[in-house]
Symmetry: C2
Subunit: 294 residues, 2 copies
Protein backbone atom coordinates (compact mmCIF):
# COMPACT_ATOMS: atom_id res chain seq x y z
CA UNK A 1 0.00 0.00 0.00
CA UNK A 2 1.37 3.39 -0.98
CA UNK A 3 1.92 6.04 1.67
CA UNK A 4 -0.71 8.29 0.13
CA UNK A 5 -3.33 5.55 0.54
CA UNK A 6 -2.86 5.55 4.30
CA UNK A 7 -3.85 9.18 4.39
CA UNK A 8 -7.14 8.73 2.54
CA UNK A 9 -10.23 8.63 4.70
CA UNK A 10 -12.93 6.47 3.11
CA UNK A 11 -15.95 8.76 3.01
CA UNK A 12 -17.97 6.16 1.06
CA UNK A 13 -17.68 2.84 2.93
CA UNK A 14 -19.37 -0.09 1.14
CA UNK A 15 -19.30 -3.92 0.82
CA UNK A 16 -19.54 -4.02 4.58
CA UNK A 17 -20.31 -7.04 6.74
CA UNK A 18 -23.13 -5.14 8.49
CA UNK A 19 -25.68 -2.75 6.92
CA UNK A 20 -24.56 0.92 6.81
CA UNK A 21 -26.91 3.92 6.61
CA UNK A 22 -27.18 5.99 3.42
CA UNK A 23 -24.49 8.67 3.12
CA UNK A 24 -25.39 12.12 1.85
CA UNK A 25 -22.72 13.04 -0.64
CA UNK A 26 -20.15 15.57 0.59
CA UNK A 27 -18.63 16.08 -2.88
CA UNK A 28 -19.88 18.50 -5.52
CA UNK A 29 -21.65 17.25 -8.64
CA UNK A 30 -20.52 20.07 -10.90
CA UNK A 31 -16.88 21.04 -10.30
CA UNK A 32 -16.46 23.31 -13.32
CA UNK A 33 -18.60 25.78 -15.24
CA UNK A 34 -21.57 24.59 -17.28
CA UNK A 35 -21.61 26.26 -20.69
CA UNK A 36 -23.81 23.90 -22.74
CA UNK A 37 -27.54 24.58 -22.47
CA UNK A 38 -28.13 20.84 -22.65
CA UNK A 39 -26.34 20.40 -19.32
CA UNK A 40 -28.39 23.03 -17.44
CA UNK A 41 -30.14 20.48 -15.22
CA UNK A 42 -27.10 18.26 -14.64
CA UNK A 43 -26.39 19.51 -11.13
CA UNK A 44 -29.95 18.98 -9.89
CA UNK A 45 -30.77 15.75 -11.76
CA UNK A 46 -27.36 14.08 -11.96
CA UNK A 47 -27.85 13.55 -15.69
CA UNK A 48 -28.65 15.35 -18.93
CA UNK A 49 -29.93 14.13 -22.28
CA UNK A 50 -28.23 15.55 -25.36
CA UNK A 51 -30.27 15.27 -28.52
CA UNK A 52 -28.49 14.54 -31.82
CA UNK A 53 -24.96 14.61 -30.42
CA UNK A 54 -24.01 12.59 -33.50
CA UNK A 55 -25.62 12.91 -36.91
CA UNK A 56 -27.01 9.88 -38.78
CA UNK A 57 -23.91 9.49 -40.96
CA UNK A 58 -21.66 9.42 -37.93
CA UNK A 59 -23.93 6.86 -36.28
CA UNK A 60 -23.81 4.66 -39.37
CA UNK A 61 -20.02 4.90 -39.59
CA UNK A 62 -19.53 4.12 -35.90
CA UNK A 63 -21.94 1.21 -36.11
CA UNK A 64 -20.00 -0.27 -39.01
CA UNK A 65 -16.83 0.18 -37.03
CA UNK A 66 -17.99 -1.57 -33.83
CA UNK A 67 -19.84 -4.33 -35.67
CA UNK A 68 -16.54 -4.92 -37.45
CA UNK A 69 -14.88 -5.43 -34.07
CA UNK A 70 -17.37 -8.17 -33.15
CA UNK A 71 -16.24 -10.06 -36.26
CA UNK A 72 -12.55 -9.82 -35.49
CA UNK A 73 -11.51 -13.42 -34.71
CA UNK A 74 -8.59 -12.23 -32.55
CA UNK A 75 -11.01 -10.46 -30.21
CA UNK A 76 -13.02 -13.62 -29.51
CA UNK A 77 -10.05 -14.83 -27.48
CA UNK A 78 -9.65 -11.47 -25.75
CA UNK A 79 -10.88 -10.82 -22.22
CA UNK A 80 -12.14 -7.44 -23.37
CA UNK A 81 -14.96 -9.10 -25.27
CA UNK A 82 -17.90 -10.17 -23.06
CA UNK A 83 -20.40 -12.80 -24.23
CA UNK A 84 -24.16 -12.65 -23.50
CA UNK A 85 -25.03 -15.28 -20.91
CA UNK A 86 -28.21 -16.59 -22.54
CA UNK A 87 -26.89 -16.74 -26.10
CA UNK A 88 -23.58 -16.97 -27.87
CA UNK A 89 -23.55 -13.28 -28.77
CA UNK A 90 -21.29 -10.34 -27.98
CA UNK A 91 -22.65 -8.27 -25.12
CA UNK A 92 -19.83 -5.74 -24.66
CA UNK A 93 -16.37 -4.85 -25.94
CA UNK A 94 -14.13 -2.92 -23.53
CA UNK A 95 -11.41 -0.39 -24.35
CA UNK A 96 -13.20 0.40 -27.58
CA UNK A 97 -11.45 3.78 -27.76
CA UNK A 98 -8.13 1.92 -28.05
CA UNK A 99 -9.35 -0.91 -30.27
CA UNK A 100 -10.81 1.60 -32.74
CA UNK A 101 -8.99 4.71 -33.92
CA UNK A 102 -12.31 6.11 -35.09
CA UNK A 103 -13.76 5.90 -31.57
CA UNK A 104 -10.50 7.24 -30.13
CA UNK A 105 -10.71 10.27 -32.44
CA UNK A 106 -14.34 10.86 -31.52
CA UNK A 107 -13.56 10.91 -27.80
CA UNK A 108 -11.01 13.69 -28.31
CA UNK A 109 -13.49 16.01 -30.03
CA UNK A 110 -14.44 18.94 -27.81
CA UNK A 111 -18.18 18.27 -28.28
CA UNK A 112 -17.54 14.92 -26.52
CA UNK A 113 -14.74 15.33 -23.98
CA UNK A 114 -15.76 18.96 -23.44
CA UNK A 115 -19.00 17.84 -21.79
CA UNK A 116 -17.00 15.94 -19.16
CA UNK A 117 -14.57 18.84 -18.65
CA UNK A 118 -17.43 21.26 -17.99
CA UNK A 119 -18.86 19.05 -15.26
CA UNK A 120 -15.60 17.85 -13.71
CA UNK A 121 -13.75 21.18 -13.84
CA UNK A 122 -10.37 19.74 -14.77
CA UNK A 123 -8.57 17.73 -17.37
CA UNK A 124 -10.12 14.26 -17.69
CA UNK A 125 -8.98 10.80 -18.74
CA UNK A 126 -10.86 7.67 -19.84
CA UNK A 127 -11.51 5.41 -16.86
CA UNK A 128 -13.43 2.89 -18.98
CA UNK A 129 -14.87 2.66 -22.49
CA UNK A 130 -17.02 0.04 -24.05
CA UNK A 131 -19.62 -0.67 -26.67
CA UNK A 132 -22.74 -2.50 -25.48
CA UNK A 133 -24.93 -4.61 -27.74
CA UNK A 134 -28.34 -5.46 -26.32
CA UNK A 135 -29.94 -7.75 -28.89
CA UNK A 136 -33.64 -7.83 -29.66
CA UNK A 137 -35.84 -10.60 -28.17
CA UNK A 138 -33.22 -11.93 -25.76
CA UNK A 139 -31.65 -8.76 -24.35
CA UNK A 140 -31.13 -8.98 -20.62
CA UNK A 141 -30.97 -5.81 -18.54
CA UNK A 142 -28.85 -4.61 -15.65
CA UNK A 143 -30.33 -4.41 -12.17
CA UNK A 144 -30.26 -1.12 -10.23
CA UNK A 145 -26.83 0.10 -9.24
CA UNK A 146 -24.52 3.09 -8.80
CA UNK A 147 -21.41 2.82 -10.98
CA UNK A 148 -19.40 4.78 -8.42
CA UNK A 149 -20.14 2.18 -5.77
CA UNK A 150 -18.33 -0.41 -7.91
CA UNK A 151 -15.56 1.89 -9.09
CA UNK A 152 -14.88 2.96 -5.51
CA UNK A 153 -15.00 -0.55 -4.02
CA UNK A 154 -13.29 -2.51 -6.79
CA UNK A 155 -11.19 0.05 -8.71
CA UNK A 156 -10.14 2.48 -5.94
CA UNK A 157 -11.79 5.64 -7.29
CA UNK A 158 -11.70 8.04 -4.33
CA UNK A 159 -14.66 10.35 -5.03
CA UNK A 160 -17.67 10.54 -7.38
CA UNK A 161 -15.89 13.03 -9.64
CA UNK A 162 -16.50 11.07 -12.83
CA UNK A 163 -19.20 11.07 -15.50
CA UNK A 164 -20.42 8.57 -18.07
CA UNK A 165 -21.50 9.41 -21.59
CA UNK A 166 -23.80 6.86 -23.23
CA UNK A 167 -24.13 7.52 -26.97
CA UNK A 168 -27.04 5.65 -28.59
CA UNK A 169 -26.21 3.78 -31.79
CA UNK A 170 -29.82 2.59 -32.12
CA UNK A 171 -33.13 4.27 -31.36
CA UNK A 172 -34.00 4.06 -27.67
CA UNK A 173 -37.70 3.45 -27.06
CA UNK A 174 -39.35 3.24 -23.64
CA UNK A 175 -39.88 -0.47 -24.30
CA UNK A 176 -36.58 -1.87 -25.60
CA UNK A 177 -34.57 -1.94 -22.41
CA UNK A 178 -33.59 1.72 -22.39
CA UNK A 179 -31.77 3.06 -19.34
CA UNK A 180 -33.88 4.00 -16.32
CA UNK A 181 -32.45 6.63 -13.96
CA UNK A 182 -33.61 8.12 -10.65
CA UNK A 183 -33.24 11.90 -11.01
CA UNK A 184 -31.44 13.39 -7.99
CA UNK A 185 -30.36 10.02 -6.59
CA UNK A 186 -26.70 10.95 -7.27
CA UNK A 187 -26.74 13.00 -4.02
CA UNK A 188 -27.11 9.85 -1.91
CA UNK A 189 -24.49 7.13 -1.63
CA UNK A 190 -26.07 3.76 -0.88
CA UNK A 191 -23.53 1.44 0.79
CA UNK A 192 -23.94 -2.20 -0.20
CA UNK A 193 -23.66 -5.07 2.23
CA UNK A 194 -21.52 -8.11 1.51
CA UNK A 195 -17.79 -8.60 1.10
CA UNK A 196 -16.56 -8.60 -2.52
CA UNK A 197 -15.47 -12.07 -3.71
CA UNK A 198 -12.11 -12.47 -5.43
CA UNK A 199 -12.23 -11.83 -9.22
CA UNK A 200 -15.84 -10.73 -8.87
CA UNK A 201 -15.60 -8.78 -12.14
CA UNK A 202 -15.61 -11.96 -14.23
CA UNK A 203 -19.19 -12.65 -13.20
CA UNK A 204 -20.43 -9.12 -12.46
CA UNK A 205 -19.97 -7.92 -16.03
CA UNK A 206 -22.60 -10.40 -17.09
CA UNK A 207 -24.83 -10.48 -14.04
CA UNK A 208 -24.46 -8.33 -10.94
CA UNK A 209 -24.61 -10.11 -7.57
CA UNK A 210 -22.53 -7.99 -5.17
CA UNK A 211 -22.59 -4.21 -4.94
CA UNK A 212 -26.37 -4.39 -5.30
CA UNK A 213 -28.64 -2.14 -3.21
CA UNK A 214 -31.41 -3.75 -1.20
CA UNK A 215 -35.04 -3.66 -2.36
CA UNK A 216 -35.74 -1.35 0.58
CA UNK A 217 -33.03 1.06 -0.64
CA UNK A 218 -34.37 1.04 -4.19
CA UNK A 219 -37.94 1.53 -3.02
CA UNK A 220 -36.92 4.49 -0.84
CA UNK A 221 -34.99 6.18 -3.65
CA UNK A 222 -37.69 5.51 -6.27
CA UNK A 223 -40.43 6.90 -4.04
CA UNK A 224 -38.35 10.00 -3.35
CA UNK A 225 -36.99 10.65 -6.85
CA UNK A 226 -39.19 8.79 -9.30
CA UNK A 227 -37.87 7.15 -12.46
CA UNK A 228 -36.97 8.73 -15.82
CA UNK A 229 -36.00 6.92 -19.00
CA UNK A 230 -33.36 7.74 -21.60
CA UNK A 231 -35.20 7.60 -24.89
CA UNK A 232 -34.32 9.18 -28.20
CA UNK A 233 -33.07 8.63 -31.72
CA UNK A 234 -29.77 7.03 -32.52
CA UNK A 235 -27.05 9.66 -32.06
CA UNK A 236 -28.60 11.10 -28.90
CA UNK A 237 -26.64 10.78 -25.67
CA UNK A 238 -27.00 10.67 -21.92
CA UNK A 239 -24.35 12.21 -19.68
CA UNK A 240 -24.68 11.06 -16.09
CA UNK A 241 -23.00 11.32 -12.74
CA UNK A 242 -21.03 8.29 -11.53
CA UNK A 243 -23.27 7.91 -8.47
CA UNK A 244 -26.65 8.07 -10.25
CA UNK A 245 -28.88 5.07 -9.46
CA UNK A 246 -29.78 3.39 -12.75
CA UNK A 247 -30.81 0.08 -14.29
CA UNK A 248 -32.54 -1.45 -17.29
CA UNK A 249 -35.23 -4.04 -17.98
CA UNK A 250 -34.94 -6.83 -20.52
CA UNK A 251 -35.78 -6.34 -24.19
CA UNK A 252 -38.31 -8.68 -25.82
CA UNK A 253 -38.89 -6.38 -28.80
CA UNK A 254 -37.20 -7.00 -32.15
CA UNK A 255 -35.41 -3.65 -31.80
CA UNK A 256 -31.82 -4.05 -30.54
CA UNK A 257 -30.26 -1.40 -28.35
CA UNK A 258 -26.58 -0.61 -28.74
CA UNK A 259 -24.52 2.22 -27.35
CA UNK A 260 -20.98 3.47 -26.87
CA UNK A 261 -20.26 4.04 -23.22
CA UNK A 262 -17.41 6.36 -22.17
CA UNK A 263 -16.40 7.04 -18.57
CA UNK A 264 -14.41 10.21 -17.93
CA UNK A 265 -12.69 10.65 -14.58
CA UNK A 266 -11.02 13.83 -13.30
CA UNK A 267 -7.22 13.76 -13.29
CA UNK A 268 -7.59 15.07 -9.73
CA UNK A 269 -9.47 11.88 -8.79
CA UNK A 270 -7.11 9.16 -10.04
CA UNK A 271 -7.32 5.65 -8.67
CA UNK A 272 -5.72 4.38 -5.48
CA UNK A 273 -5.96 0.86 -4.05
CA UNK A 274 -9.50 -0.59 -4.10
CA UNK A 275 -11.54 0.46 -1.07
CA UNK A 276 -13.29 -2.89 -0.74
CA UNK A 277 -11.60 -5.59 -2.83
CA UNK A 278 -8.42 -7.64 -2.63
CA UNK A 279 -6.97 -6.36 -5.89
CA UNK A 280 -7.89 -3.84 -8.58
CA UNK A 281 -9.84 -5.04 -11.60
CA UNK A 282 -7.99 -5.38 -14.91
CA UNK A 283 -6.96 -2.09 -16.50
CA UNK A 284 -9.29 -2.57 -19.48
CA UNK A 285 -12.15 -2.22 -16.96
CA UNK A 286 -10.61 0.43 -14.70
CA UNK A 287 -7.73 2.18 -16.42
CA UNK A 288 -4.58 3.09 -14.50
CA UNK A 289 -3.24 5.18 -17.35
CA UNK A 290 -4.28 8.66 -16.23
CA UNK A 291 -3.08 10.50 -19.35
CA UNK A 292 -5.52 13.34 -20.05
CA UNK A 293 -7.62 13.19 -23.20
CA UNK A 294 -6.29 15.90 -25.52
CA UNK B 1 -66.72 -35.09 -31.56
CA UNK B 2 -70.10 -33.46 -31.99
CA UNK B 3 -71.76 -33.43 -35.41
CA UNK B 4 -71.53 -29.66 -35.61
CA UNK B 5 -67.75 -29.82 -35.21
CA UNK B 6 -67.41 -31.84 -38.39
CA UNK B 7 -68.98 -29.01 -40.31
CA UNK B 8 -66.58 -26.35 -39.09
CA UNK B 9 -63.85 -25.39 -41.50
CA UNK B 10 -60.72 -24.30 -39.63
CA UNK B 11 -59.94 -20.90 -41.10
CA UNK B 12 -57.12 -20.36 -38.60
CA UNK B 13 -54.88 -23.44 -38.67
CA UNK B 14 -52.05 -23.38 -36.10
CA UNK B 15 -49.70 -25.64 -34.07
CA UNK B 16 -48.78 -27.24 -37.35
CA UNK B 17 -45.89 -29.59 -38.01
CA UNK B 18 -44.68 -27.39 -40.89
CA UNK B 19 -44.58 -23.56 -41.08
CA UNK B 20 -47.78 -21.96 -42.44
CA UNK B 21 -48.00 -18.51 -44.03
CA UNK B 22 -49.72 -15.63 -42.24
CA UNK B 23 -53.49 -15.54 -42.70
CA UNK B 24 -55.25 -12.24 -43.33
CA UNK B 25 -58.30 -12.26 -41.10
CA UNK B 26 -61.61 -12.89 -42.84
CA UNK B 27 -63.70 -11.98 -39.79
CA UNK B 28 -64.77 -8.50 -38.80
CA UNK B 29 -63.22 -6.73 -35.83
CA UNK B 30 -66.27 -4.67 -34.92
CA UNK B 31 -69.51 -6.69 -35.23
CA UNK B 32 -71.79 -4.16 -33.53
CA UNK B 33 -72.11 -0.40 -33.35
CA UNK B 34 -69.50 1.70 -31.58
CA UNK B 35 -71.16 4.29 -29.35
CA UNK B 36 -68.39 5.16 -26.89
CA UNK B 37 -65.96 7.84 -28.10
CA UNK B 38 -63.17 5.99 -26.36
CA UNK B 39 -63.63 3.06 -28.75
CA UNK B 40 -63.45 5.17 -31.94
CA UNK B 41 -60.10 3.71 -33.04
CA UNK B 42 -60.85 0.11 -32.00
CA UNK B 43 -61.56 -1.16 -35.52
CA UNK B 44 -58.33 0.23 -37.00
CA UNK B 45 -55.99 -0.40 -34.06
CA UNK B 46 -57.51 -3.53 -32.51
CA UNK B 47 -57.45 -1.86 -29.10
CA UNK B 48 -58.61 1.23 -27.23
CA UNK B 49 -57.45 2.81 -23.99
CA UNK B 50 -60.19 3.99 -21.63
CA UNK B 51 -59.05 6.58 -19.12
CA UNK B 52 -60.49 6.47 -15.58
CA UNK B 53 -62.93 3.63 -16.20
CA UNK B 54 -62.90 3.15 -12.42
CA UNK B 55 -62.51 5.93 -9.88
CA UNK B 56 -59.84 5.78 -7.12
CA UNK B 57 -62.31 4.55 -4.49
CA UNK B 58 -63.41 1.68 -6.71
CA UNK B 59 -59.79 0.79 -7.40
CA UNK B 60 -59.01 0.75 -3.67
CA UNK B 61 -62.04 -1.43 -2.91
CA UNK B 62 -61.25 -3.90 -5.69
CA UNK B 63 -57.62 -4.06 -4.64
CA UNK B 64 -58.63 -4.91 -1.07
CA UNK B 65 -60.94 -7.55 -2.45
CA UNK B 66 -58.39 -9.34 -4.65
CA UNK B 67 -55.56 -9.04 -2.13
CA UNK B 68 -57.96 -10.71 0.29
CA UNK B 69 -58.27 -13.63 -2.13
CA UNK B 70 -54.48 -14.14 -2.13
CA UNK B 71 -54.66 -14.61 1.63
CA UNK B 72 -57.43 -17.19 1.53
CA UNK B 73 -55.76 -20.44 2.66
CA UNK B 74 -58.31 -22.54 0.76
CA UNK B 75 -57.24 -20.97 -2.53
CA UNK B 76 -53.58 -21.95 -2.07
CA UNK B 77 -54.67 -25.52 -2.76
CA UNK B 78 -56.80 -24.47 -5.72
CA UNK B 79 -55.68 -24.89 -9.33
CA UNK B 80 -57.12 -21.47 -10.07
CA UNK B 81 -54.28 -19.83 -8.17
CA UNK B 82 -51.01 -19.60 -10.16
CA UNK B 83 -47.66 -19.11 -8.39
CA UNK B 84 -44.83 -16.93 -9.76
CA UNK B 85 -42.02 -19.18 -10.98
CA UNK B 86 -39.10 -17.20 -9.55
CA UNK B 87 -40.63 -16.51 -6.14
CA UNK B 88 -43.26 -17.98 -3.90
CA UNK B 89 -45.83 -15.32 -4.77
CA UNK B 90 -49.25 -15.32 -6.38
CA UNK B 91 -49.06 -14.45 -10.08
CA UNK B 92 -52.70 -14.90 -11.10
CA UNK B 93 -56.08 -15.99 -9.77
CA UNK B 94 -58.56 -17.32 -12.33
CA UNK B 95 -62.37 -17.11 -12.28
CA UNK B 96 -62.10 -14.02 -10.13
CA UNK B 97 -65.62 -12.95 -11.20
CA UNK B 98 -66.93 -16.11 -9.50
CA UNK B 99 -64.62 -16.07 -6.49
CA UNK B 100 -65.57 -12.47 -5.75
CA UNK B 101 -69.15 -11.17 -5.77
CA UNK B 102 -67.76 -7.65 -5.98
CA UNK B 103 -65.93 -8.43 -9.23
CA UNK B 104 -68.98 -10.34 -10.50
CA UNK B 105 -71.15 -7.29 -9.89
CA UNK B 106 -68.66 -5.01 -11.63
CA UNK B 107 -68.62 -7.16 -14.75
CA UNK B 108 -72.39 -6.85 -15.11
CA UNK B 109 -72.32 -3.04 -15.11
CA UNK B 110 -73.08 -1.62 -18.54
CA UNK B 111 -69.94 0.57 -18.48
CA UNK B 112 -67.98 -2.72 -18.41
CA UNK B 113 -69.88 -5.40 -20.32
CA UNK B 114 -71.35 -2.71 -22.59
CA UNK B 115 -67.91 -2.11 -24.12
CA UNK B 116 -67.73 -5.75 -25.19
CA UNK B 117 -71.30 -5.74 -26.53
CA UNK B 118 -70.61 -2.70 -28.71
CA UNK B 119 -67.63 -4.40 -30.34
CA UNK B 120 -69.02 -7.93 -30.57
CA UNK B 121 -72.55 -6.99 -31.64
CA UNK B 122 -74.31 -9.63 -29.55
CA UNK B 123 -74.84 -10.84 -26.06
CA UNK B 124 -71.52 -11.87 -24.49
CA UNK B 125 -70.34 -14.26 -21.80
CA UNK B 126 -67.13 -14.52 -19.76
CA UNK B 127 -64.66 -16.85 -21.46
CA UNK B 128 -62.01 -16.22 -18.81
CA UNK B 129 -61.42 -13.86 -15.92
CA UNK B 130 -58.41 -13.39 -13.73
CA UNK B 131 -56.48 -10.98 -11.59
CA UNK B 132 -52.76 -10.67 -12.37
CA UNK B 133 -50.18 -9.56 -9.84
CA UNK B 134 -46.82 -8.54 -11.31
CA UNK B 135 -44.65 -7.78 -8.30
CA UNK B 136 -41.94 -5.15 -8.24
CA UNK B 137 -38.27 -6.12 -8.69
CA UNK B 138 -38.94 -9.72 -9.73
CA UNK B 139 -41.88 -9.38 -12.12
CA UNK B 140 -41.49 -11.53 -15.19
CA UNK B 141 -43.26 -10.61 -18.41
CA UNK B 142 -45.10 -12.53 -21.10
CA UNK B 143 -43.49 -13.03 -24.50
CA UNK B 144 -45.30 -11.89 -27.66
CA UNK B 145 -48.47 -13.79 -28.47
CA UNK B 146 -52.02 -13.60 -29.78
CA UNK B 147 -54.57 -14.77 -27.21
CA UNK B 148 -56.86 -16.00 -29.96
CA UNK B 149 -54.16 -18.33 -31.25
CA UNK B 150 -54.24 -20.13 -27.88
CA UNK B 151 -58.00 -19.94 -27.40
CA UNK B 152 -58.55 -21.36 -30.88
CA UNK B 153 -55.95 -24.11 -30.60
CA UNK B 154 -56.46 -25.17 -27.00
CA UNK B 155 -60.02 -24.07 -26.10
CA UNK B 156 -61.85 -24.48 -29.42
CA UNK B 157 -62.87 -20.85 -29.98
CA UNK B 158 -63.97 -20.75 -33.64
CA UNK B 159 -63.36 -17.12 -34.60
CA UNK B 160 -61.67 -14.01 -33.18
CA UNK B 161 -64.99 -12.58 -32.00
CA UNK B 162 -63.84 -11.96 -28.45
CA UNK B 163 -62.31 -9.03 -26.59
CA UNK B 164 -60.26 -8.63 -23.44
CA UNK B 165 -60.62 -5.83 -20.94
CA UNK B 166 -57.57 -5.19 -18.76
CA UNK B 167 -58.39 -2.88 -15.86
CA UNK B 168 -55.32 -1.44 -14.12
CA UNK B 169 -55.31 -1.69 -10.32
CA UNK B 170 -51.91 0.02 -10.14
CA UNK B 171 -50.38 2.84 -12.15
CA UNK B 172 -48.93 1.59 -15.44
CA UNK B 173 -45.66 3.31 -16.36
CA UNK B 174 -43.69 2.68 -19.55
CA UNK B 175 -41.03 1.01 -17.39
CA UNK B 176 -42.83 -1.37 -15.04
CA UNK B 177 -43.72 -4.15 -17.43
CA UNK B 178 -46.79 -2.51 -18.92
CA UNK B 179 -48.46 -4.23 -21.86
CA UNK B 180 -46.96 -3.66 -25.31
CA UNK B 181 -49.29 -4.02 -28.30
CA UNK B 182 -48.80 -3.84 -32.06
CA UNK B 183 -51.56 -1.55 -33.41
CA UNK B 184 -53.31 -3.15 -36.39
CA UNK B 185 -51.72 -6.57 -35.89
CA UNK B 186 -55.16 -8.02 -35.07
CA UNK B 187 -55.86 -8.19 -38.84
CA UNK B 188 -53.19 -10.86 -39.32
CA UNK B 189 -53.36 -14.35 -37.86
CA UNK B 190 -49.88 -15.78 -37.28
CA UNK B 191 -49.99 -19.59 -37.22
CA UNK B 192 -47.52 -21.13 -34.81
CA UNK B 193 -45.46 -24.17 -35.56
CA UNK B 194 -45.24 -27.12 -33.19
CA UNK B 195 -47.77 -29.62 -31.91
CA UNK B 196 -49.35 -28.76 -28.53
CA UNK B 197 -48.14 -31.06 -25.71
CA UNK B 198 -50.71 -32.68 -23.43
CA UNK B 199 -51.70 -30.50 -20.44
CA UNK B 200 -49.64 -27.67 -21.90
CA UNK B 201 -51.67 -25.14 -19.88
CA UNK B 202 -50.02 -26.13 -16.60
CA UNK B 203 -46.71 -24.72 -17.81
CA UNK B 204 -47.88 -22.11 -20.31
CA UNK B 205 -49.66 -20.01 -17.68
CA UNK B 206 -46.30 -19.39 -16.10
CA UNK B 207 -44.00 -19.41 -19.11
CA UNK B 208 -45.09 -19.71 -22.73
CA UNK B 209 -43.25 -22.25 -24.89
CA UNK B 210 -45.73 -23.35 -27.56
CA UNK B 211 -48.08 -21.10 -29.49
CA UNK B 212 -45.22 -18.63 -29.80
CA UNK B 213 -44.61 -16.74 -33.05
CA UNK B 214 -41.13 -16.88 -34.57
CA UNK B 215 -38.70 -13.99 -34.24
CA UNK B 216 -39.12 -13.43 -37.99
CA UNK B 217 -42.91 -13.12 -37.52
CA UNK B 218 -42.53 -10.65 -34.66
CA UNK B 219 -39.97 -8.59 -36.54
CA UNK B 220 -42.24 -8.39 -39.60
CA UNK B 221 -45.26 -7.31 -37.56
CA UNK B 222 -43.28 -4.82 -35.45
CA UNK B 223 -41.72 -3.21 -38.52
CA UNK B 224 -45.15 -2.94 -40.14
CA UNK B 225 -47.21 -1.83 -37.14
CA UNK B 226 -44.80 -0.46 -34.54
CA UNK B 227 -45.31 -0.90 -30.81
CA UNK B 228 -47.59 1.02 -28.44
CA UNK B 229 -47.72 0.72 -24.67
CA UNK B 230 -50.68 0.72 -22.29
CA UNK B 231 -49.79 3.31 -19.68
CA UNK B 232 -52.05 5.24 -17.35
CA UNK B 233 -53.27 5.70 -13.81
CA UNK B 234 -54.86 2.93 -11.79
CA UNK B 235 -58.48 2.63 -12.89
CA UNK B 236 -57.70 3.08 -16.59
CA UNK B 237 -58.37 0.17 -18.92
CA UNK B 238 -57.37 -1.37 -22.20
CA UNK B 239 -59.95 -3.13 -24.38
CA UNK B 240 -58.31 -5.26 -27.06
CA UNK B 241 -59.14 -7.69 -29.80
CA UNK B 242 -58.45 -11.37 -29.15
CA UNK B 243 -55.98 -11.56 -32.04
CA UNK B 244 -53.88 -8.50 -31.16
CA UNK B 245 -50.16 -9.29 -30.90
CA UNK B 246 -49.00 -8.27 -27.42
CA UNK B 247 -46.40 -8.98 -24.75
CA UNK B 248 -44.66 -7.47 -21.75
CA UNK B 249 -41.12 -7.06 -20.47
CA UNK B 250 -39.99 -7.82 -16.94
CA UNK B 251 -40.32 -5.32 -14.10
CA UNK B 252 -37.22 -4.43 -12.07
CA UNK B 253 -38.80 -1.27 -10.60
CA UNK B 254 -40.26 -1.23 -7.09
CA UNK B 255 -43.67 -0.44 -8.59
CA UNK B 256 -45.89 -3.54 -8.87
CA UNK B 257 -48.36 -3.89 -11.71
CA UNK B 258 -51.69 -5.56 -11.06
CA UNK B 259 -54.79 -5.76 -13.19
CA UNK B 260 -58.14 -7.45 -13.54
CA UNK B 261 -58.39 -9.22 -16.87
CA UNK B 262 -61.82 -10.08 -18.31
CA UNK B 263 -62.37 -11.93 -21.58
CA UNK B 264 -65.76 -11.54 -23.23
CA UNK B 265 -66.74 -13.88 -26.04
CA UNK B 266 -69.79 -13.56 -28.29
CA UNK B 267 -72.58 -16.03 -27.58
CA UNK B 268 -72.50 -16.59 -31.36
CA UNK B 269 -68.89 -17.80 -31.08
CA UNK B 270 -69.14 -20.42 -28.33
CA UNK B 271 -66.48 -23.09 -27.97
CA UNK B 272 -66.31 -26.35 -29.90
CA UNK B 273 -63.61 -29.01 -29.61
CA UNK B 274 -60.03 -27.63 -29.53
CA UNK B 275 -58.65 -27.05 -33.02
CA UNK B 276 -55.12 -28.15 -32.10
CA UNK B 277 -55.04 -29.95 -28.76
CA UNK B 278 -56.07 -33.35 -27.41
CA UNK B 279 -58.55 -32.01 -24.90
CA UNK B 280 -59.94 -28.65 -23.86
CA UNK B 281 -58.25 -26.77 -21.03
CA UNK B 282 -60.02 -26.67 -17.64
CA UNK B 283 -63.17 -24.57 -17.57
CA UNK B 284 -61.67 -22.03 -15.16
CA UNK B 285 -59.31 -21.12 -18.04
CA UNK B 286 -61.76 -21.49 -20.93
CA UNK B 287 -65.34 -21.48 -19.71
CA UNK B 288 -67.93 -23.79 -21.22
CA UNK B 289 -70.76 -22.05 -19.43
CA UNK B 290 -72.04 -19.75 -22.17
CA UNK B 291 -74.66 -17.96 -20.06
CA UNK B 292 -74.78 -14.32 -21.19
CA UNK B 293 -73.69 -11.62 -18.74
CA UNK B 294 -76.81 -9.74 -17.67
Amino acid sequence: MALSDNLIVDRYPTRTAEPVAHIERSDATVWGTIESDSLASFDADGFAMIDALLDPTEVADLTDEVVGLTKDPDLWLDDRLIIEKSANRVRSIFEVHRLSARVGDLVRESRIVGLARQVLGSEVYIHQSRVNFMPGFQGTGFYWHSDFETWHAEDGMPAPRAVSLSIALTDNYPYNGSLMVMPGSHRTFVPCQGVTPTEHYRESLRQQQFGVPTEADITELANKHGIAQFTGRAGSALLFDSNLMHGSANNITPFPRSNIFLVFNSVENTLVEPFAADAPRPTYIGSRDFTPVR
